[in-house]
């Protein structure tokens, strides 16, 4: 079982691979796209500049580094496009192909058709945003030329098993971080850049190229606090809410659809053994915008996979994984659990 890990800075590749990453994935959000698409998001599902590489020279360097380290790199293009945005996405495919990426992660059927019709020799991975909830949809994407399906977060183990049973495709599931209450590919909340409450601060956070560069030198603890503050108040994933109480809605800020902590630190490690039996081939560590804990995350999943391969009773395995979670300072409990 391979670990798929996000990356947003070229210089991180070696340390991520050394920690145990078997594959890397990244997005690209160039300055031109940033200027053009201000207010409408970028061509992947992360509108924050710092969650992405910022030009294709970085991608070229990253591809070379990844291939030197003998691991594949995927480019994320997991949005849905009208013709204007499709042009930008097609340009990214072309550039990424020239750079030598191994795969593109796609959710738009139009873009998938474009990649296959133009004969780009790259693998196509179907994003979780494309919402493959059944084996028929898996077969549909296989017929369209995809080689891997990334399953949505909300499936049960049994449903994952039924999708895997058809065979013939790699199956990837989420294993760590960012478990949203909403089904990602069906969510119409706009993510980022439209908050009123934080106004300019959020615009800075999402779009400031300088901040993207500065992120490399800002202490990570501070970045984490900044990130959490913006995520909590700008992303619909973690909005606090109140239920209407006899007329006027009563706002109770202590209530969250996604508690920010369980959203950020979700985990499915104790299901690894089942996932392997179900023929899941890849597990994904989520969070292209996460700055901290990345090495610790990979080591934790790597160790948990090693444990899952040992010949020990299931109860003992789960207890050992919980011990690992403590060792790596990960949260464990119902509200954090991907595959309870």
């Amino acid at each position: 079982m391979n670990i798929v890990v996000p990356i947003h800075r070229v210089q991180d590749a070696e340390s991520l691979v050394a920690a145990g990453a078997d594959e890397l994935y990244c997005g690209v959000f160039t300055k031109d796209e940033w200027c053009d698409s201000r207010g409408s998001g970028c061509v992947n599902h992360r509108s924050e500049v710092f969650s992405n590489l910022n030009d294709f020279s970085q991608l070229r360097r990253l591809v070379k580094k990844a291939h030197d380290l003998k691991i594949p790199l995927s480019l994320v293009l997991n949005e849905f496009y009208d013709d204007d945005k499709l042009c930008a996405a097609m340009e990214q495919v072309k550039q990424a192909y020239d750079c030598g990426v191994d795969a593109v992660i796609i959710s738009d059927i139009g873009l998938l058709r474009y990649v296959r019709e133009k004969g780009y020799d790259v693998s196509v991975h179907i994003s979780s945003c494309a919402n493959v909830f059944n084996s028929h949809t898996r077969a549909f994407y296989k017929n369209m030329g995809a080689s891997r399906i990334i399953l949505p977060r909300q499936l049960t183990r049994e449903e994952i098993g039924s999708i895997c049973a058809g065979g013939g495709m790699e199956i990837e599931v989420f294993i760590l971080n960012e478990r949203c209450f909403y089904v990602d590919g069906f969510c119409r909340f706009q993510h980022g850049n439209i908050t009123k409450r934080l106004g300019a601060a959020t615009v800075l956070w999402h779009f400031n190229m300088w901040l993207a560069s500065a992120a490399a030198v800002i202490p990570r603890k501070i970045l984490q606090v900044m990130h959490r503050y913006v995520v909590n108040h700008d992303h619909a994933c973690c909005f606090p809410y109140g239920i209407e109480d006899g007329g006027e809605p009563a706002f109770r800020p202590q209530k969250y659809f996604n508690d920010p902590r369980s959203f950020l630190y979700a985990c499915g490690a104790c299901a690894l053994r089942d996932l392997k039996e179900l023929k899941v081939s890849h597990v994904k560590i989520c969070g292209r915008s996460m700055f901290t804990e990345r090495i610790r995350n990979i080591r934790f999943v790597k160790d948990a996979i090693a444990l899952s391969e040992q010949d020990i009773p299931q109860g003992e395995f789960v207890a050992e994984v919980r011990g690992l979670a403590q060792k790596y300072r990960k949260y464990c409990g119902d509200q954090y659990c991907y595959y309870r």
Binding site: E79, F80, D82, R113, V183, E244, D334, Q335
Partner: protein, 256 residues
């Protein structure tokens, strides 16, 4: 203009009156709320009795859901004289629809129409970004694919921001507009079923009404939750109700 009534249960047929020439039947968002074959037969009888056209609405589907809806579509497609249409919200269900020869309409879950209510109120000085948000993310390659698959219609929400008429004019499809509920997002299971692995409500959800209005910080528009889906209301659709507009069907969702 064709007017349709959208119902989720057979007992909502009582809401029909002769303003509506078509009935949408089924839940577009919840794969736990699958109509029974018996209820579907009863609706077919109702439609034939009142000379109505019928649209079967399907949500995203697990394998169990595909099997259940496959039975219903086979039943309906075998009926002589029934002009059946299916609203498709899961690509895995497409081959079965094609095989059955029913008309296919692209559902709101697959249309990916931007509908965040904050988009309607957000403006940057000197920049009107709303036009971008009025466009649905359907591109030339996707259009060609849909035509190949004989998908002839697209379902739209009546978003606060409106729809780019010029984009719709250029597309080789018919369009339906759903009012007054504007779809916003959904969760896997109905929120109060207790099946999601989230700690949402500290108390029992059993006493809560079917439709719950909530306030979300940063969103001025009241949001309401029905089963597993989130909506806001926009009852104004006068702009679409003209002869020359590509929207040629209005679909009402009424509640008793």
């Amino acid at each position: 203009m064709e007017y349709a009534l959208n119902i989720q249960h057979i007992d909502q047929c009582d809401l029909w009156d002769d303003r509506y020439q078509r009935i949408y039947f089924g839940d577009e968002f919840c794969n736990e709320n699958i109509p029974s074959v018996d209820d579907t037969k009863r609706l077919m009888d109702f439609c034939s009795q009142h000379a109505l056209r019928m649209t079967l609405v399907t949500p995203f589907l697990t394998d169990r859901g595909v099997d259940a809806y496959a039975g219903i579509v086979r039943l309906l497609s075998g009926c002589q004289g029934l002009d059946l249409e299916v609203v498709l919200n899961d690509w895995g269900f497409l081959p079965l629809c094609r095989e059955s020869g029913v008309k296919i309409s692209l559902g709101r879950l697959l249309t990916h129409q931007p509908s965040d209510p904050r988009l309607g109120t957000h403006r940057r000085p000197g920049k009107n970004i709303s036009e971008k948000w009025q466009r649905i993310p359907v591109n030339t390659y996707f259009t060609a694919f849909m035509k190949e698959q004989h998908i002839e219609r697209i379902e739209l929400s009546n978003t606060a921001l409106g729809v780019a008429k010029e984009q719709l004019d250029e597309m080789p499809f018919s369009f339906s507009l759903h009012v007054p509920d504007v779809y916003l997002t959904l969760t896997r299971y109905p929120l109060f079923s207790g099946r999601d692995r989230f700690k949402i409500f500290s108390g029992s959800g059993a006493s809560l009404p079917e439709e719950i209005v909530i306030a979300i910080k940063n969103i001025e528009t009241p949001i309401f939750i029905r089963k597993n889906a989130f909506f806001y209301k926009n009852p104004h659709f006068e702009a679409y109700d003209g002869e020359d507009h590509p929207v040629d069907r209005i679909v009402y969702t009424l509640y008793p």
